[in-house]
Structures are given as structure tokens and as C-alpha cells.
């Protein structure tokens, strides 16, 4: 990835083409930072200063954005930068050995670069490959189903000078082709139903049909289908579009949220791989409905291997006059650009995502105003999930009645589940809303199931024994697609600890309860696992968790306590078993050894002094 760009003074001159490429528009700061990093391997201080000058910002202002995102480096990060996904699923599937092998083979430890500056080794959260873990990103490609053996081969070849792409894509497929993506990542579509992944969908015909309708009629169709947002919150899509239609504003925007960051989900990855046209067309339908000319697909950086492929899809659609100027020869202009993320789970929140599209830190905005009134650059902005747009294309093809006849009265249609963990066949399952938990477990071949984490860490942990008959739908087990299965051999407390650490890692820090409270809750679960917690700690978890749920600024903070709160409710015994019985005058949480460690050190130092 590094092309040996001259750093320091010459960096200033090298910034100019980048500034020009984006017309020195500071809302494109993230793209510029990516361009610098892809050239230089990291973002040197000299580049920050030059960029700041060119954008009339203070250097620290540029750093605000740079330092917010996990994948940006302000120090050299190795000729190859490796990110091993640290997820609960990976940890069930040989993560530890893979991690140890990586450290051994690269000659460095996680969080640092080896002495020869060849390898930078880093942890990262879920990269959307829970169906084929352990997995890692190397520069811009990914390697899945890692084993120590496989790691040794990859690192050896890199040492010998092979590029990651040569290793991952031995047939050297063009990065714009589907084969390039599929050489790296399996789709694992296990069951597809009536809505998604249909072969040979007549996209031009569907769009023709849509554009024959008045925008209001399109909104009406979407409303009649009763589809609700597939991102997780379940806001009625028809209502959102109507608000977008009615929102005053000359320019409006459609954004596709492809920042699939919830641990355990990967359905958007597969939709973008196998049905990108359904998604892009759905955006175009939305643009017609609300009256937008600008479209942005916000793609998480973890899916970089999809970028060229998706760009090509957009180019093809333009050539076929399904995108761009005068779509299908009508007075309708709409175009889509891809905005790459840079590693921040919080950008899945729609207002944080908009901030990120504007080149800023991904901090959620204060609401109101809502994006549908004032979003991207202050314009009315309609943001929907990848799956929602894909479903809209199916609705425009087959009709609202057809869609609303699927599922249940209040949860119409189907939904894609990203199934991972303890089951025979992890992968993508299209289910009709209304199926029971047991039915899903049966279908995916899950045996001896103890718990299912529905909707990822931000969702709820349910008990297979107690909740098996509950139904997946918005009014009962609402699911954003993430479906992680744990059998009886798994230690749920470890899972909870991992999830709590995830939220601490990913908190943007803008509000007090999430930034500070998350740390305390993480501390509590560690105390429990260490066997040093008491009844009081469980009460604290509930009280402090409710504080975060009530007062946090965005969905990240309000859902962050849920791994603790939902397992406490469903599996109270696993907590009770770990409670300490107070002995003696000290609180069990008091770590005497730790508290006196400094004293021990001082004594040793003194003793050494004396013996000299």
C-alpha cells in the first residue's frame, strides 16, 4: 500500500493534487485523509499541517477528524497494516491461536509495528465476517477462516514481497469484478426467500414503472407495503419518505447506511455483493419519491474490497441511464457517490453518519432537527439501511400488497438474518417476520443452544429454553439482523465482558453517561468474572445501566448497558454463582495486592539501593 512517498517538507507539495481532487472542500476531509494514508502508509504531521492550511482549518481541527477514526494512523503503521477482528464469535473459533501466530510470525505485538517496519499489527472490532472467522484485514483485502497454518503462509509470502492482493486473489481478478470480492469472501447465502437475491431482476423496467408514478404515489406504495426500517429502529419507511417529500428544501439527499458495524451482522455485505443493483435502485426510487438529486452510499472501511466493485456498478448504471443525468430520458437527475468510513461503529447512527459524510468526527447530533428535516449539509436527508433499499426495489417490482402479505400484520415482509456462532451452517437466512426463535434455531442447525444474542450487543440476550416460542417481529423479538448463537459450553459472562469492552472502545465520548458510565459497567463485569463482586455490584449495574439508558445522547449509549441488563434478567444464576462471600473486614472488590503493589515496588527498590 505504501508507494514510498517522500514524507516531511515535500509532503506539502504532494498535498496539492489531493486538495485539488476535492476542490479544497473540507467536507471531503475523510477522503483526503484516506488518499494521504494510502500513499504514505500513514498521515504524517507535515501532511496534517499542509492540509489544514489548504482548507483554512487549524491543524488540530484536522486532527479532530483524523484521531476519531480507528483506521487512520498518525504514525507509521507498517508497510502492511493488519487488523485481526476481535469478536466473540472469533474467540469461539480459534482466535487465540491465530493471534499468537500473528505475533510470532510478524515479530511484533498487537498495537505496534515490527522493527523492520513491515508489519503493523492491530486489533479491530467486528469486520462483518462472523460467518467465516477468525478473519483479518491486510491493507485493503481480507482473509477469512484463519488458522495458524494459513497465517504462517500469508505472513511468509508478504515477507517474500507478495502483495496482499496477490495472495488473496491469486487469479488476479480485476478489483471491479464480482470474482475479486468472491475470491476473498464467501457469500454463505443459506436460504433466500421471496424478497432478496432474486436472479435477473428487470431493473430498468422497475425504474420505468416507478418513474411513471408520481412521487406521492411512490410514497403511497411504500407506505402500503408497511415496510419498516431494517437498520434496527424500525421506523416506518413510508412515513420517513413522506416527511422527506414534505420537508421544505430545494436540494434533498438520499443516503444509504452501509456502515454495517453491529457485531454479528454481515447481511449488508452480502446484499452489496450479490444484489448491489437492488440497493442502488432502491436509493433512486427514494430520490424520485422525496425529490433528491444527491445520493451517498456510506460504506464502512472494513468493506474496502467492495469499493471498486460498487463504483463499477454505479458506472454501469450511469451508462444504462439508470443513474446520473436525465435518468431513462426523463427530467430526473440523481447520482450516487460512495463515501468511505474510517472505522467508527457510532457512525451507524444516522446523524453521526452525516457528520462523517461532512468530513467531521462521527459524533451524533442533537435532535431535533432530525435528518429528514435538516441532515447532510443542512438539507433534508433520507437515510435508510442497505436492506431497506433492496426491499423497496422488490416492492416496486412486485407491489405493496405482495410485500405486506408476507410476515405479520405489524411486521410486513421478510428480513435477512446474519447467523453466526454455534450452528451447523452460519450465513444468510431470509426469514418471514413472525417465525419463532426455535424455528430459526432448527433451520440453522443449532444444537444444545443456551442463548441467542439478538441484534448484536445493542440488542438482547435471550434464553433458548425460556424464549424459544417468542417470535421475530418488531413487537416481540425485534432483530436488526445479527443473530449470534451460544451453546451450553460457552461462558456467557465472557461474552458480556467482550460486548461491554466493545462499547467502551466505540463510545464517541461526546456525552457523559456513555463516555464515563460505560467504563464503570465494564469494570463491574470484570469484577464479577474475577469473583470479587457482591450483591451491591449487581444493584449498581442495574442502577448505572438505567442511568445510561435514560440519559445518553444516542443509541450507542442507551443500548450499551444491555448486554449486562439482559443477561442479568435471563441468566441471573450465572451472576449469583460468581458473587463473593465477604470474609474479614475488607470489601471483596478491594484488591489488597494491587493496592499495595506500589509499596512492594518501593520496598524492593530500597532493598536494592541498600545492597549496593
Amino acid at each position: 500500500m505504501t508507494q514510498g512517498i517522500e514524507v516531511n517538507e515535500t509532503m506539502t507539495t504532494n498535498i496539492h493534487p489531493i486538495l485539488e481532487r476535492y476542490h479544497a472542500d473540507k467536507t471531503r476531509l475523510i477522503d483526503m485523509l484516506w488518499d494521504i494514508q494510502r500513499q504514505a502508509g500513514y498521515i504524517p504531521d507535515a501532511a496534517v499541517t499542509a492540509l489544514a492550511e489548504g482548507l483554512n482549518m487549524s491543524a488540530n481541527d484536522v486532527r479532530e477528524t483524523l484521531t476519531f477514526y480507528h483506521f487512520f494512523h498518525d504514525k507509521p503503521a507498517g508497510r502492511h497494516t493488519l487488523y485481526l477482528a476481535d469478536t466473540v464469535i472469533a474467540r469461539m473459533q480459534g482466535y487465540d491461536e491465530v493471534r499468537a501466530t500473528l505475533e510470532r510470525e510478524t515479530g511484533t505485538t498487537f498495537g505496534s509495528v515490527d522493527p523492520s517496519a513491515t508489519f503493523g499489527l492491530y486489533d479491530t472490532n467486528c469486520i462483518g465476517l462472523s460467518d467465516q472467522e477468525p478473519a483479518m484485514m491486510v491493507d485493503e483485502v481480507v482473509f477469512t477462516r484463519l488458522t495458524p497454518e494459513k497465517v504462517r503462509t500469508i505472513i511468509n509470502r508478504l515477507k517474500q514481497g507478495a502483495t496482499p492482493s496477490e495472495i488473496a486473489n491469486p487469479d488476479q481478478f480485476d478489483t471491479r469484478r464480482l470474482e475479486y470480492v468472491q475470491a476473498q469472501v464467501a457469500d454463505n447465502i443459506r436460504i433466500c426467500g421471496p424478497v432478496f437475491f432474486q436472479q435477473d431482476r428487470p431493473h430498468a423496467q422497475i425504474l420505468e414503472k416507478t418513474l411513471d408514478l408520481l412521487p406521492e404515489q411512490v410514497v403511497e406504495q411504500v407506505t402500503l407495503s408497511r415496510i419498516r426500517g431494517r437498520g434496527g429502529a424500525g421506523f416506518p419507511t413510508g412515513l420517513k419518505w413522506r416527511l422527506g417529500r414534505e420537508a421544505p428544501g430545494r436540494e434533498k439527499v438520499v443516503i444509504c447506511n452501509a456502515d454495517e458495524g453491529e457485531p454479528g451482522t454481515f447481511k449488508d455485505r452480502v446484499l452489496l455483493t450479490r444484489s448491489p443493483r437492488d440497493v442502488l435502485l432502491g436509493m433512486t426510487v427514494a430520490a424520485h419519491a422525496i425529490g433528491a438529486r444527491t445520493g451517498i452510499l456510506y460504506l464502512r472501511a472494513e468493506y474496502w474490497y467492495l469499493k471498486d466493485y460498487l463504483e463499477q456498478q454505479i458506472t454501469d448504471l450511469r451508462a444504462e441511464r439508470l443513474l446520473g443525468r436525465s435518468i431513462l430520458g426523463r427530467e430526473f437527475d440523481f447520482d450516487i457517490r460512495i463515501q468511505m468510513g474510517a472505522g467508527a461503529y457510532v457512525c451507524g447512527d444516522e446523524t453521526a453518519l452525516i457528520e462523517s459524510c461532512e468530513g467531521k468526527r462521527g459524533t451524533p447530533r442533537v435532535k431535533p432537527p432530525y435528518p429528514i428535516q435538516q441532515g447532510y449539509l443542512g438539507m433534508p436527508t433520507c437515510i435508510n439501511n442497505v436492506e431497506t433499499f433492496a426491499a423497496v426495489t422488490a416492492i416496486m417490482e412486485q407491489g405493496a400488497d405482495w410485500f405486506s402479505s408476507l410476515g405479520t400484520p405489524e411486521s410486513s415482509g421478510t428480513r435477512l438474518l446474519s447467523v453466526s456462532g454455534d450452528c451447523a451452517a452460519p450465513g444468510i437466512y431470509e426469514i418471514e417476520w413472525g417465525v419463532s426463535l426455535n424455528e430459526v434455531l432448527d433451520t440453522v442447525g443449532a444444537r444444545n443452544t443456551r442463548a441467542v444474542q439478538i441484534s448484536g450487543p445493542s440488542g438482547e440476550c435471550v434464553s433458548a429454553a425460556a424464549d424459544g416460542e417468542r417470535r421475530l417481529c418488531y413487537s416481540d423479538l425485534s432483530c436488526n439482523g445479527s443473530f449470534m448463537i451460544f451453546d451450553h459450553s460457552r461462558d456467557l459472562l465472557r461474552v458480556v465482558e467482550h460486548f461491554m469492552r466493545f462499547f467502551v472502545d466505540e463510545s464517541c465520548g461526546i456525552c457523559v453517561p456513555c463516555r464515563a458510565g460505560g467504563v464503570d459497567l465494564h469494570h463491574k463485569i470484570r469484577l464479577i468474572i474475577a469473583g470479587r463482586a457482591t450483591r451491591q455490584d449487581l444493584d449498581d449495574i442495574v442502577n448505572w445501566g438505567n442511568l445510561m439508558r435514560g440519559t445518553s445522547r444516542c443509541g450507542l449509549g442507551t443500548t450499551a448497558p444491555k448486554p449486562l441488563l439482559t443477561t442479568l434478567e435471563k441468566f441471573p444464576q450465572i451472576y449469583r454463582e460468581k458473587l463473593a462471600r465477604p470474609q474479614g473486614p475488607l470489601l471483596p472488590s478491594f484488591d489488597l495486592e494491587n493496592a499495595t503493589r506500589e509499596y512492594e515496588h518501593a520496598c524492593q527498590a530500597l532493598a536494592q539501593e541498600k545492597s549496593k
Binding site: N56, S58, D61, E64, S507, C511, P513, D520, G550, T551
Partner: protein, 234 residues
């Protein structure tokens, strides 16, 4: 447009769209704030003004009032939530009031008194934070930063409009930063304003420390509650 809302059981008349926190103050109900300042855009970072609106907990600085709203400020659980948020801040940073130059004019300290905080229920973290003293006129005491974002949003270099204060990194690694070159050309008036803008003793103007004796400082003379309610009466 005149509307009616219910505030702690009392029906009051007010103007639609006014921020709830201000409406409350205008009606003699003090809600603590650490980031919000009347007349300035809402920052919504500290959440210390959390109240219940139609059954949901919300930060009152983010809520424009609407007809028929039912608002609870004074309820045992809400009082405790606001207190807990203040306690979180005390545990998160290093706040040593007796030795702090801002003591007596510190909004965090003053709000601490208002919510009845005696000690933090959260474990004190004693985080190691470095201070930044390179700037000519400003001393940045990071131990006390509560990430309210006031300085980040409201202080700009007069000539270029560039940000002088910024936040580096995110989450628990966040750190307040100062652009020294820009800070060094801040006129004395702007330095004074920045120091006053800071609700805690993080932005300190050099050369003027401890200029008022204990007992005569801002909130010692008049509490933050009195000041908030008094200003709204004006």
C-alpha cells in the same frame, strides 16, 4: 405561538419552540446545566439537565416545548440521575476543589452543591493527564476537562475563523487540545472570555490566578441557582 405545558404538575403558558430548560428557569424551576448557556446553541453533552418529557428522559436543553407537553423535573429518580451524572464527572477526571484556582467560580462545583453531591458513588479513576502550558496566555489543565465542548464550538481565531480548542481521539481517550500559535494571538479580552466560558478550571488565564479571596468568588456570593433564575427574570 402561545402554548400550555405542565411543569411539575403546574400548568404554565409559554411560547412554542422555546427550549425547555429556559422555560423552566423562566417559571422559577432551576435545572442544572454544565454545557448549556442561555442564548448559545445547545451542545447536549453533559446531560445534567435531564428531565422527563411525556414519560421519556430527555436532556431539557435539547427539547423545544410543544403544546400539551408534560414535564417532570422534581422527582426522586430524576434528581438522582442528575446527581449521578455530576458524580460521574467528578470520578472521571481529577477535581481537587480546595487547590483549584476556579474554586468558587466553577460551575461543576456549584452544580455539585445544587444536586446535593457529597461524594461520588462511582470509583474515582485518578486518570493520568498531562497539562499544556506552552501557550503564552493560557494554561490548559486537562485534569479538569469535562468535554462540554463550549470552547471547541464557541472560540475561534478572530482573523481566520479557525478552531483554537479541539478534541483529540475519542471516548475515554479523548483529550482537549489547544492550538498554541492561534492561542498566542488571542487578545486579552478573548483569553478572559475563554477562561470564563470554561465551566471548570481547565482553561486558565495565566498571570491572574487567585485574584479574589475565598468567600468573595462568584458562586460564593450568589449561587448558580440564584444566578440562573435571576437572569431569566431579567
Amino acid at each position: 405561538m402561545n402554548i400550555r405545558i405542565t411543569l411539575d404538575g403546574k400548568e404554565i403558558e409559554t411560547t412554542a419552540g422555546t427550549l425547555l430548560v429556559d422555560v423552566a428557569a423562566d417559571n422559577g424551576v432551576y435545572i442544572p446545566t454544565l454545557c448549556y448557556q442561555r442564548g448559545k446553541p445547545c451542545l447536549g453533552t453533559c446531560r445534567a439537565c435531564s428531565v422527563r418529557v411525556n414519560g421519556n428522559v430527555m436532556a431539557s436543553c435539547t427539547v423545544p416545548v410543544a403544546e400539551g407537553m408534560t414535564v417532570e423535573v422534581d422527582a426522586a429518580d430524576l434528581n438522582d440521575m442528575r446527581k449521578a451524572l455530576v458524580e460521574l464527572l467528578f470520578a472521571e477526571g481529577n477535581h481537587n476543589c480546595p487547590s483549584c484556582e476556579k474554586s468558587g467560580r466553577c460551575e461543576l462545583q456549584a452544580v455539585g452543591y445544587e444536586v446535593g453531591m457529597l461524594v461520588s458513588r462511582f470509583p474515582y479513576r485518578f486518570p493520568p493527564r498531562t497539562r499544556e502550558h506552552v501557550a503564552k496566555y493560557i494554561w490548559l489543565e486537562r485534569d479538569r476537562c469535562i468535554f462540554c465542548q463550549r470552547c471547541v464550538e464557541f472560540v475561534r481565531d478572530h482573523e481566520t475563523g479557525r478552531k483554537i480548542f479541539t478534541i483529540d481521539d475519542r471516548g475515554t481517550h479523548a483529550s482537549i487540545e489547544i492550538d498554541v500559535a492561534l492561542a498566542d494571538r488571542m487578545p486579552p479580552e478573548q483569553v478572559r472570555e475563554a477562561a470564563e466560558l470554561c465551566p471548570v478550571g481547565c482553561i486558565i488565564a495565566k498571570g491572574v490566578g487567585y485574584d479574589k479571596p475565598i468567600g468573595q468568588r462568584k458562586f460564593e456570593v450568589k449561587s448558580i441557582r440564584e444566578r440562573t433564575l435571576e437572569r431569566s427574570r431579567k
